[in-house]
């Protein structure tokens, strides 16, 4: 067991897979000698060399296109898109190419690749470098989508993503890079499509993802201590495949559902889950499901303004307390 930052876990997760399989290659902007703009890939270039850890031009379409061509012909590429906001300049690959080639070719083509990207707010970078765009990826049939919240999950889900035969979009949260957590020694391999109950409880279910997980946990502690409300917190971890069994099982036990989402409100991931619960567990519910989200706004840059729009523990406590 060692204490590791989320940032260092990214490098360890990639290194674990590159050491295991020589077909795993890694490409992106400034990922090599520079160690990544978030310093999340430090040491990989030295360990695996310039043929496996390749710096690219600032060409997001070329990065994703090349990853796809390599994947369909036998490699297992990991591509970095520095900020998830930049998905918008290479969205053709994410929306039209990766997820459709297997289907359109009637199973002839494969696309086993991972796109990892810095997602989310908290760095005061403003509206084009701070977004949570996991819902952009979630809405596309043919993709898999994960967003780890702890160093251990970064390694385990990275391994699962690299070993998965389908295209996986891997959202790292920029505001979690400095977060520390215990990580077991040795190889870690997790399973896509599994949520985890990070705090058991009996009164209400709170679903959260990435940076919202620690905030939901803090809120749950306060709700228990200050209001006697015992919340179960679930780290959704994987939006596609979605672990509806764990979610529905929890709602059947607590009878209340809250989602804490960093993505802007319209069509956020929680909307889909609320609709599933309404369809399949309506009579388990003792009250309306409540979505706690970033409002439907571009993100402001100033620290005070940004802090005011993201869901935080105060807002979660307030919304849960009011609803119960």
């Amino acid at each position: 067991m060692a204490e590791l930052t989320y940032r260092d876990a990214v490098a360890r997760g990639i290194a674990q897979e590159m050491a295991r399989d020589p077909d795993v290659v890694f490409l992106g902007e400034d990922i090599g000698a520079a160690g990544g703009v978030f310093k999340s890939t430090v040491g990989l270039f030295e360990q695996f060399g310039p043929l496996r850890v390749r710096d690219t031009p600032i060409s997001e379409q070329a990065i994703l296109g090349a990853a796809m061509g390599a994947a369909m012909t036998g490699l297992k590429p990991i591509a970095e898109i520095m900020f998830s906001d930049f998905f918008a300049v290479c969205f053709d690959y994410i929306a039209n190419e990766f997820p459709k080639s297997r289907y359109m070719s009637n199973g002839q083509l494969k696309c086993p690749l991972v796109v990892r990207t810095g997602n989310g707010a908290g760095s005061r970078f403003g509206a084009q470098h701070s977004q949570s765009v996991e819902n952009w990826a979630m809405m596309i049939p043919g993709l898999k989508v994960v967003a780890p919240s702890t160093p251990r999950d970064v390694i385990g889900l990275m391994a699962a993503a690299v070993r998965d035969p389908d295209p996986v979009i891997f959202f790292e949260h920029k505001s979690l890079y400095a977060m520390k957590g215990d990580v077991p020694d040795g190889e870690i391999v997790d399973t896509l499509g599994t949520a985890s109950i990070v705090r058991p409880g009996k009164d209400a279910t709170i679903l959260a993802l990435a940076l919202m997980v620690p905030r939901a946990l803090e809120a749950a502690d306060r709700l228990k201590a200050e209001h006697g409300i015992d919340c179960e917190v679930i780290d959704v971890r994987s939006l596609v495949p979605l672990d509806t069994q764990t979610i529905l099982g929890s709602v059947a036990k607590t009878h209340r559902l809250f989602t804490v989402e960093e993505n802007p409100r319209l069509c956020g991931w929680g909307a889909e889950i609320v609709s599933i619960v309404a369809d399949e567990a309506f009579y388990d519910l003792d009250g309306p499901p409540v979505r706690i989200t970033t409002p439907h706004l571009p993100l402001p840059a100033a620290d005070t303004l940004e802090d005011a729009v993201l869901p935080n523990a105060d807002r979660i406590v307030e919304r849960v307390r009011r609803a119960m």
Binding site: A66, T73, P141
Partner: protein, 381 residues
């Protein structure tokens, strides 16, 4: 705007630089010629030589290339007829008039080389040896189609033939082709990747990203611009500030400008061969612009009224099949042999048409297969 006469001057200038290198290489490459062919050929070599022709390609390859051009022409004309009969339901983009490009590039490939095509990809797919029936079946949405109706005319794919997909988002496949070539470079494989696209595609970002990326990584990829003078309906000359949509851009990526007469399968074959050899030897990418012309509209919905009067007729005089038929005769191939090829191809296309008409539509259960690698479409548990 370029006239055929004008650019044939450009073409012969550029081609002469390739011909010498290609001559040696191509002779080595063509090992399939039979004895009979070699002897018949020897007799006629003098007449071909007096016509200024270079016998660097060999009879077997030339006959193969003629057959392929006729097959593409016949299959595409049939696709159009089937559309008029409402048996081809979706869109389709024909390469009538552009047959020599697909043929020359495919004929110079080796098994294992990879093709990346566009929605205008029937020709390239057939040229790699995919049966006519599977192509027409896909256009008709039948169960015998290449992808059983799941892809349609714009996405023809046959991995076993090296046809790694047909891409319908302009420019998308140029970076993908870079990735396939990167794999060859990384693994030390000797295959080359060939990526076809149109003149209009040279104005999209992915073209420029891919050219730069391939050049700086020295990838074994050949970018082939089929300059048929038009985007969908707009002449390419109206939307570029340079003369040649691809060739004039080559120097920005440290590449040689290469322009080829896309109506002459031999010229295409030579240019392809040279570029493939270079790529296999680690010499990096090539960008080749083929001057050509499409006889039909952009897609089935387009009557092509935007073309100036006489342009189509002038280009039909440079029909690649007409040119190649003449070429065969200059090399002493008997009319009966040529007519025999034409009859055989017609029968193949007729038989394929009947097979497709008789084929069932796909079963509905394939709607949910092959979204994910487990064969299904489950996004939840």
């Amino acid at each position: 705007m370029l006239t055929p006469a004008l650019f044939s001057a450009v073409v012969s200038f550029c081609c002469s630089r390739f011909a010498a290198r290609a001559k040696v290489a191509a002779n080595k490459h063509c090992t399939t010629r039979g004895n009979a062919g070699r002897m018949a050929n020897a007799e006629n070599r003098t007449s071909a030589a007096s016509a200024g022709l270079n016998d660097d390609i060999g009879e077997a390859t030339r006959l193969k290339m003629y057959r392929m051009q006729v097959e593409i022409r016949e299959a595409e004309q049939r696709a159009y007829d089937l559309f008029l009969q409402n048996l081809v339901k979706g869109t389709s983009h024909l390469s009538l008039g552009q047959e020599a490009v697909a043929t020359g590039f495919a004929a110079a490939m080796k098994p294992g080389d990879l093709s990346f095509c566009t929605y205008r990809g029937h020709a390239h797919t057939l040229a790699r040896g995919v049966p006519v029936e599977q192509v027409l079946g896909e256009l008709m949405g039948r169960d015998n189609g290449l992808m059983r109706g799941k892809g349609g005319s714009m996405h023809l794919t046959s991995a076993e033939h090296g046809v790694m997909g047909s891409y319908a988002i302009i420019g998308a496949h140029l970076p993908i082709a870079c990735g396939a070539a990167w794999r060859a470079q990384y693994k030390g494989h000797k295959d080359v990747t060939v990526c076809f696209f149109g003149d209009g595609t040279t104005n999209i970002g992915a073209f420029h990203e891919a050219l730069n990326f391939a050049a700086v990584w020295k990838l074994p990829v050949i970018f082939v611009c089929e300059n048929n003078l038009y985007m969908e309906y707009t002449p390419i000359g109206d939307v570029i500030p340079v003369e040649h949509p691809a060739a004039s851009r080559a120097s920005a990526y440290g590449l040689e400008p290469v322009i080829v007469d896309g109506q002459d399968a031999d010229a295409v074959y030579r240019a392809a061969f040279t570029a493939y050899e270079r790529a296999r030897a680690g010499g990096g990418p090539s960008l080749i612009e083929c001057k050509t012309y499409r006889y039909s509209g952009h897609s089935r919905a387009d009557p092509a009224k935007y073309r100036p009067p006489g342009e189509l007729e002038r280009w039909k005089e440079r029909c690649p099949i007409k040119i190649y038929r003449e070429r065969l005769k200059q090399f002493g191939i008997a009319e009966s042999v040529i007519a025999g090829i034409e009859a055989e191809v017609r029968k193949v296309v007729d038989d394929a048409t009947e097979a497709c008409k008789a084929a069932p539509t796909p079963p509905l259960d394939i709607i949910t297969t092959d979204v994910y690698a487990d064969g299904g479409w489950a996004w939840r548990n």
